[in-house]
């Protein structure tokens, strides 16, 4: 299978524009050292940490549900396991 060139300058800028979101409340659920962290998109520090992933997801859902938001749950290797969107 031949490889497609996927990168273009404008596509790179589109991906980069998501690094600093303006209006959307996106929360990431990420496995830290031993606890699950809830992190607001664009930040490098956890809002809160939890012992279990379910506790972290519920906390993130509560926040996202108050706005137009999204909870992104990551696998232990950083890839995306699930997304939950909320519209108000």
């Amino acid at each position: 299978m031949s490889r497609k060139v996927i990168y273009t300058k404008s596509r790179g800028e589109t991906v980069a524009s998501l690094a600093r979101p303006v209006n959307i409340a996106k929360l990431h659920v990420i496995l830290g050292e031993s606890k699950w962290s809830v992190v607001i998109e664009g930040n490098t520090k956890a809002l809160r940490t939890f012992l279990t992933v379910d506790q972290a997801i519920n906390f993130a859902k509560d926040i996202a549900a108050k706005k137009t938001g999204e909870v992104v749950i990551h696998e232990e290797n950083g890839l995306i396991k699930d997304r939950i969107s909320f519209n108000r």
Binding site: R3, V15, A19, T44
Partner: protein, 205 residues
């Protein structure tokens, strides 16, 4: 960007290793290094010449020898990685003043596997990542920190959190246009460009 900020990455390119490679490239760029990955070389007959050029122009070398064994029964182990590692160590050992300042990190899945297959590298910086991207980020970050005096590097946790967000942003934009298979096959040179653009924006405060 010159010798001091270049890093030569010598690692496997199989699908199983992709999350590790992505984390490794992201960490390098996040820590202000310029990664040079041998997969980006297109022509096989110039491959080794290009690798030698990368070795010559990179202060840092990161070599993952975890595929120095058969991954599946019936497969053969890969020896390109230890060969290129040998070239890098040789450049450091026998090169001029600048090359003697090279820093080399050897990564493996398990801590003592190398002793069974390539015991002569004892005495080098060797770390085990357990095939976990976060552990890999931590090992690379801590090794760079110990080799870059007077510079305080971002913490492992900061890099890991940023990396998770980047993967989400990249996936959510590209999955609208490309299939999962196409994204899996994305050239590493494209991935490096996306990473550069994203980190530049992410670090703007």
């Amino acid at each position: 960007m010159g010798f001091e900020s270049n890093v030569f990455i010598n690692c496997p390119f199989d699908d199983e290793y992709k999350p590790m490679l992505k984390a490794l490239v992201f960490t390098s760029i996040y820590l202000n290094l310029v990664p040079h990955v041998s997969e980006t070389i297109s022509s096989s007959n110039t491959r080794i010449d290009q690798i030698k050029r990368y070795i010559r122009k990179s202060k840092f070398g990161i070599h993952d020898i975890s595929r120095n064994k058969a991954m599946v029964v019936g497969d053969l182990p890969r020896f390109n990685m230890p060969y290129e590692l040998g070239l890098d160590i040789g450049a450091c050992e026998f090169g001029g003043k600048i090359l003697k300042s090279k820093k080399i990190l050897i990564l493996d899945t398990e801590r003592y596997h190398y002793q069974k297959v390539i015991s002569d590298i004892s005495g080098q910086d060797i770390s085990a990542h357990n095939d976990e991207p976060k552990t890999l980020i931590s090992k690379v970050r801590n090794w760079l920190s110990s080799n870059t005096e007077d510079i305080v590097l971002a913490s492992t946790n900061e890099i890991w959190i940023a990396y998770n967000q980047f993967i989400d942003d990249l996936t959510s934009i590209l999955s609208a246009t490309y299939t999962e298979e196409e994204l899996k096959e994305m050239p590493i040179s494209d991935y490096i460009k996306f990473t550069n653009d994203w980190i530049k924006k992410f670090k703007q405060i």
